[in-house]
Assembly symmetry: C2
Homo-oligomer: 323 residues x 2
Amino acid sequence: MYRKEIKVLDCTIRDGGLINNYQFSETFVKAVYAAACDSGVDYFEIGKKLADSDSYPRDKWGVWNFCDDDVIREVIDSHECEHRPKIAVMFDIGRIDLKALKPIDQTPFDMIRVASYVADINKGIDVVKTCKELGYETTLNIMAPSAAIERDLAEGLEETNEVAQLDYLYLVDSYGAFYSEQVTSYVELYKKYAPNKPLGFHGHNNQQLAFSNTQQAIIDGVNLLDATVNGIGRGAGNCNLELLLNFLKNPKFDVRPIYKVIQEQMVPLRETIEWGFNDIYGISGYLNQHPRAAMRQRGDDENRDHCYDFYLESRRLDDAAMS
Amino acid sequence: MYRKEIKVLDCTIRDGGLINNYQFSETFVKAVYAAACDSGVDYFEIGKKLADSDSYPRDKWGVWNFCDDDVIREVIDSHECEHRPKIAVMFDIGRIDLKALKPIDQTPFDMIRVASYVADINKGIDVVKTCKELGYETTLNIMAPSAAIERDLAEGLEETNEVAQLDYLYLVDSYGAFYSEQVTSYVELYKKYAPNKPLGFHGHNNQQLAFSNTQQAIIDGVNLLDATVNGIGRGAGNCNLELLLNFLKNPKFDVRPIYKVIQEQMVPLRETIEWGFNDIYGISGYLNQHPRAAMRQRGDDENRDHCYDFYLESRRLDDAAMS
């Protein structure tokens, strides 16, 4: 598959940081950034830009949860690169200090990605507008659409369609619940209600489908694709960047730096934190559940592989919730 | 996805046995058989039926490589089941004693699957004819079509099309090299040259695509699907049976016995043998290589995770082979 319009966004640090409260070392982040530069990816999302708060105190969270300008500049300056990727950062609705955001020429960031549930789309739109006025590229990443009432989602999409300040609208499979046919059906919905907006796709690997669903999104016309080195990310993780670059066949990409950083950085990291497919996340994705119950099960050494018990309990809770 | 014509073949023991020379315990095989029965799958492939030989001496290989009638009958008799799956066994061209095969009413087998490379399709057809004359359902599993010259494959397919004794023709992604678009393109080729033959699909998980490619085969009209419990199988393994049953939504299937046997049998087995996706198999699949180099790398404790070295070396060998 080759299509010149396709762009790739590496969200290794941002989505991977959800596993370890953004406690990656500077060495690690610089190595991943250098690999991203040399691989030719288009965007590099380096973390979240949350406000320091009672929920997110600086002593518990790593620097990639706050992304202070000087920290990020040091990463960028650590690697010479002819065509460096644009630097993206994520804003979570309700956890940011928007007033503190400076214009684009005074920060190291190029793109701001706004993550919002369907219920908060209008808040997300307001943030997008402010970011665009300050000069940034913008995305709106609508989380967990598979758990939304379709009419609510459609209304939200219609509103985003009118927002000239929004550059990309993201379809996000937060629960890892999509099969390829759902990707197609949601992309159709997004195109129907927000026909003006270029689309992005962000998958999760609960059912071993993050990579294949990303391919399906490409087939369905999506041109901005999220992926992470080695598929690192919360729970079952994301689409593997190295598999995606192999698939894309675009000569602007070079997969070798990605395999190099896997060998040198990811292999040792895999000894300390867990991500990727397993039976528990498979069930969670199939049942279109928020991954929190699955993550709790995986954190329980006694029961982490008890997929049969997890399946029965999940179905029992589903049934109980209906009564 | 629900289509009543779809049938599922559990090849856990046959493909899984490639990892450990078929040294599964009787307890393990009986537990997997019982789970298959209770889950409602249509076929259960219990091993290979190879002739005892210098290459396959009985003291090195487990009983599931020979599948003597009395051993298989004991498994079948170990579990009461209202609708038991049909029992399949695999024949490898050139490694069998066809003259020793008895008529269907004198053996525990219902289906014989004949595995053949493209070059041996005519030998495979001869075996299929003999098996059908003795009363068995038959399949011809053409191995590694992604490594065959398409004209040779097309000729072979045309010949199979005329063989009334052949019940199913299999598309096999032996190298785990297919993307969904290749599945579609090969299914079209098979339908063009062998339009009379119902098709089967057997995937491998080198690029995390065994399950999604099986979905694509379904979309493209394939009705007999191979899968294994927990995706066990040589190298990167196969399509996970539990994910497939979830996807199929057919009320005749019950996924619970599969999760139960995973929890009770597969979880401890995973401590002793390895299967499933990793970076090395991902590269091997992408490069459309026989998995032997990848398996060798994984067997080398020092280098098993050196994916960058493996990538460079594989490309170097490819380049050298061209000169």
